[in-house]
Amino acid sequence: MAKSKFKGKKVDPRSFSRDQIKFYCILIPIACLMVLPVVYMFNEAFKPLGELYAFPPTLIAKEPTFNNFKKLFELSGTTGVPMTRYLLNSIFITLITVILNIYITVACAFVLSKKGQYRVTKWFFSINQMALMFVQVAVAVPRYIMIVRLGLIDTWAAHIFPLIAMPIGIFLMKQFIDDVPDALLEAAYVDGAGNFTVIRRIILPMTRPAVATVAILTFQSAWQATEASNNFITSDVMKTIYYYLNALQTNNAVASRGIVAAGTIILFIPNLIIFICMQSRVMSTMSHSGIK
């Protein structure tokens, strides 16, 4: 009766209907436009030298080669550090940062979410929420001063520690842990579990989507970080591949165009694959992201 007015579910439809065509008509061209620069980049990486500087420029590589990739791996920095060393540095730093950050974030977010009875937690959560707006470039100099004072110049710690201070990770994780029922924790406590056991046995298994999201966000920021290599690290052997390609691009843009394109593609692909694999977890975390 009255319900017949409701024409079925419109948001998140289960099946295709003709009135969805108009949305595809708007979305597909926009999506193509967004992806076009990335597609162009892929093709740059596979173009032989002649084609890179051809006129008129081509969007799609006509005779794709792996030459640029080969040259990239044979490349070495001004001080003779091979490119693969930079790559290994990046992988090492990113791996350590992601693993450390997951544990530190879950631990802190658990306390912020479930230990509201201690005054310091409420107070710290609102400070952290304010820090979501933090723009690190704005305080590059004070961060440098901190690194110097702590004696971290030219150490791996200078790469890793500043990256772990990531307010958005704490924020998302805390919102997610809020939904873990208190009764469950209460039961565990009554059975004699301490906070560490509760985190290991209850919180970690129940917040996998949020853990995945924090891992992705950390990965993205660590993988593409240049702040440490630019400012905190002086010896070449400890710098990252991202820094190296950046320098190559600014100092020698013409000669290295194809190589830089190949490099950016290699750096982009892990990012893309990880996101595709985890996108459903990211989406379920994001539904908890509201700021009230």
């Binding site: 409701f6 704005a138 691009q249």
Partner: protein
């Protein structure tokens, strides 16, 4: 009986619980203080000094701020208008674009939605390096630049335009690039927010005489997802300021021609790393942080629920 055990448990373990809680909080608290909180405090402190890295900072009161707001011609004439124009378009623009696109993708089925979402999200994860390389080649000033070649072949221009070196185009291009990669994590939050709106609300509204999708959006969707909107707005503002480095990267020089692409971030860099006037640079940083806080406050006024 149960209440009794609980009570006893509480008495015995309260101390232990407090200690382990603080222990768990400690690592992040420490790193947060060292690399976010204290640097901000140092910036505020330094902004009242003259500091050239070599000598110890010398207290000069508010003269840095006075100089910045009255004598720094470049700051007043170029940096401030550029930054406001850029931030006002990229911030709200990015937010609106995210919402519209997020709404559009939620109107279709799950599988094509995932693919299209990925396409729209992709630019925000390509990283600073690819942004530079790709847009530099597209807007390259000679005839081999993609845009120039396209316009030349159509006969719309007679000679190649050096897009990135002309003051009249640079800021527009920066805004375009920033909007291109504005569909980041805030966009994902919006999609999740729209999908999470309680279905019964729509049903009830249709019973009450709601007629079309436009009304759906205005009366149900937006009011139900204000917290996600707030999150996205904050992300959009931060993103707008974070992408401000791009001007000099595209133009290949800092300052950019006629300062046309210099935003407040570049001004900080200029004073901190080229002129080593750290006190002055810190004062600019503080102004920037205040600006971001102000924009977020405005967003908060718009999106937080009134009780």
């Amino acid at each position: 009986m149960k209440a009794l055990t609980k009570k006893r448990y509480r008495r015995v373990n309260r101390r232990e619980d407090y200690l382990t809680s603080m222990l768990l909080l400690l690592p992040y608290l420490l790193l947060f203080s060292l690399f976010i909180a204290i640097p901000v405090l140092i910036a505020i402190g330094l902004s009242f000094t003259y500091f050239d890295v070599i000598k110890t900072p010398e207290l000069v009161g508010v003269s840095n701020y006075i100089a910045l707001l009255t004598q720094d011609e470049i700051f007043l004439k170029y940096i401030i208008p550029n930054t406001f124009k850029y931030a006002l378009i990229v911030g709200p623009g990015g937010c609106i674009l995210s919402f519209v696109l997020a709404w559009l993708v939620t109107q279709i089925q799950a599988v094509p939605r995932t693919i299209l979402t990925l396409c729209l999200y992709m630019p925000s994860m390509v990283g600073s390096l690819m942004i530079q390389v790709v847009w530099k080649t597209i807007f390259s000033g000679d005839q081999r630049g993609l845009l120039n070649a396209f316009l030349l072949s159509r006969g719309w221009i007679d000679s190649p335009v050096s897009w990135l070196l002309s003051p009249e185009y640079l800021l527009t291009i920066m805004i375009l690039v920033a909007l291109w990669q504005a569909m980041g994590i805030g966009f994902l939050a919006m999609i999740a927010g729209i999908l999470n709106v309680n279905e019964e609300l729509y049903e009830a509204a249709y019973v009450d005489g709601m007629k079309n999708r436009f009304q759906e959006v205005v009366y149900i969707t937006i009011p139900s997802m204000k917290p996600q909107m707030m999150f996205s707005a904050v992300m959009a503002i931060v993103n707008a300021f974070n992408t401000g480095w791009i001007g000099p990267a595209l133009a290949g020089s800092n300052p950019t021609p006629d300062y046309s692409g210099n935003l407040i971030l570049n001004h900080i860099e200029d004073y901190a790393f080229s002129r080593y006037e750290m006190g002055y640079a810190a004062a600019i940083s503080v102004v920037l942080l205040l600006m971001i806080a102000f924009f977020s406050k405005v967003a908060g006024k718009l999106f937080t629920e009134k009780d």
